[in-house]
Symmetry: C2
Subunit: 224 residues, 2 copies
DNA sequence: TACTGTGAACGAATTCACAGCC
DNA sequence: GGCTGTGAATTCGTTCACAGTA
């Protein structure tokens, strides 16, 4: 028999938008608003109302036709859909400035995630205390992940030259989801989720787009 | 008469990939490789060969059928297409840990970009020297941008609550391209290019995908 | 009446597969 | 023969427009 809570797979694009709906709902809820239309919520989240309804409809029938959505109920539905019932452990490898920024970034500790390990390669950094936590040697990674469990997410904040080695280490330690900031294409086995954020690619895209706008004043700006 | 160098508009997706081709070419060039096939270059950049050929063909006919691409020539073609003949000035607003990490990130200073201004709101931070540069008050932003010129790219590394105000300030100072790390949907006039990088959305996507993999072991991992 | 949920239309991006050229 | 360049097919994401329902 099929589980009643079974859900179809959500697209990446949808999952990337759900958190903004959650944020928008939280500020509405803080103001004591009980009900909201797709139009209002979409505006607050920076998308179109059709987009929002399409996304939400994939989670089931969460609203009431002719009325709208109930903020409290919708919030908990989104929490469940995003799997925020459980806290996901995160390990950060590489504690240069970027790793440090990530480690202290609000969205990483709290809100459903918990940083459970900071690791580095540099003997000068290993053993120091960063953000109230001892930095461990990257060779201890298997133990750190073993303690944290198989749902651990690995963050690669090393220079590009070390990224592949770190990724291999993460995978062999049992990590199945990796967020990398290195501009190196990571090779990982089938079944491992990888997401790459490359800040310089983003900058270059902006440089290109704003140059194009200057050359063709008629072209409208495109939002990200 | 039409300029000989006129190019059709490139898609965002293509522009985001060009830098990785450039990186891959650079390491080939460093090893003294003179020629390369789409298959080899694509593998090095982490994409399919069809994808790479499609992207490059939009810049013109850069390769030789039956032979491949000449690394040196392709490199300079890509540099020109990405507009790296000119250095783009960058101002960074918000010097918390994230702003600091960005400011010192390799990809931002050098490689066609130059950080020309660090600004913050906090009186405790304004006036201090960060990375060999004096942090200025965010109210000086109009002057900083005026000096740097209209091609300046603005980076918003403030908390979400200040992001819209900073964006307004950037726009009124003449900035036409904004990269924001705040999880707030920015409202900007038509013609302004905006790109949002939200680290916690990326983490959540990974959390979702790796959970889905666990639930359906047959599903393959999807690459970013 | 007002607003959701959704099929259908549309558009963008990627992959396929092969014609064209060295 | 081998590899590029590219139309065609496909897949994916978004928007449209309206049927359905409190």
């Amino acid at each position: 028999m099929v589980e009643a809570t079974e859900r179809r797979e959500l697209s990446d694009a949808t999952v990337l938008r759900l958190p903004s709906y959650l944020d928008a709902l939280d500020s509405l809820r803080a103001r004591g608003v009980r009900g909201v239309s797709s139009e209002e919520l979409a505006t607050a989240a920076g998308v179109t109302s059709a987009m929002l309804r399409k996304d939400l409809s994939q989670l089931g029938s969460l609203g009431v036709r002719g009325v709208g959505y109930e903020t409290e109920a919708l919030r908990s539905q989104l929490m469940t859909a995003l799997g925020r019932d459980a806290v996901r452990p995160v390990v950060i490898v590489g504690l240069g400035r970027l790793g440090l920024a990530i480690a202290s970034h609000g969205g990483f500790d709290g809100d459903g995630f918990e940083v459970v390990g900071l690791l580095d390669h540099d003997p000068q950094v290993v053993g120091t205390t960063v953000l109230g936590r001892e930095v461990r040697d990257v060779r201890d990674l298997p133990q750190v992940v073993a303690v944290a469990g198989p749902g651990t997410i690995g963050v690669v904040a090393t220079p590009g030259s070390a990224a592949q080695d770190v990724a291999d280490l993460l995978v062999s330690a049992g990590v199945r989801a990796i967020l990398t900031f290195a501009p190196t294409p990571l090779r990982v086995p089938e079944g491992i989720a990888v997401r790459e954020v490359d800040l310089s690619c983003e900058l270059r895209l902006l440089a290109y787009r704003s140059r194009a706008v200057a050359a063709h004043p008629t072209a409208g700006g495109v939002r990200a």
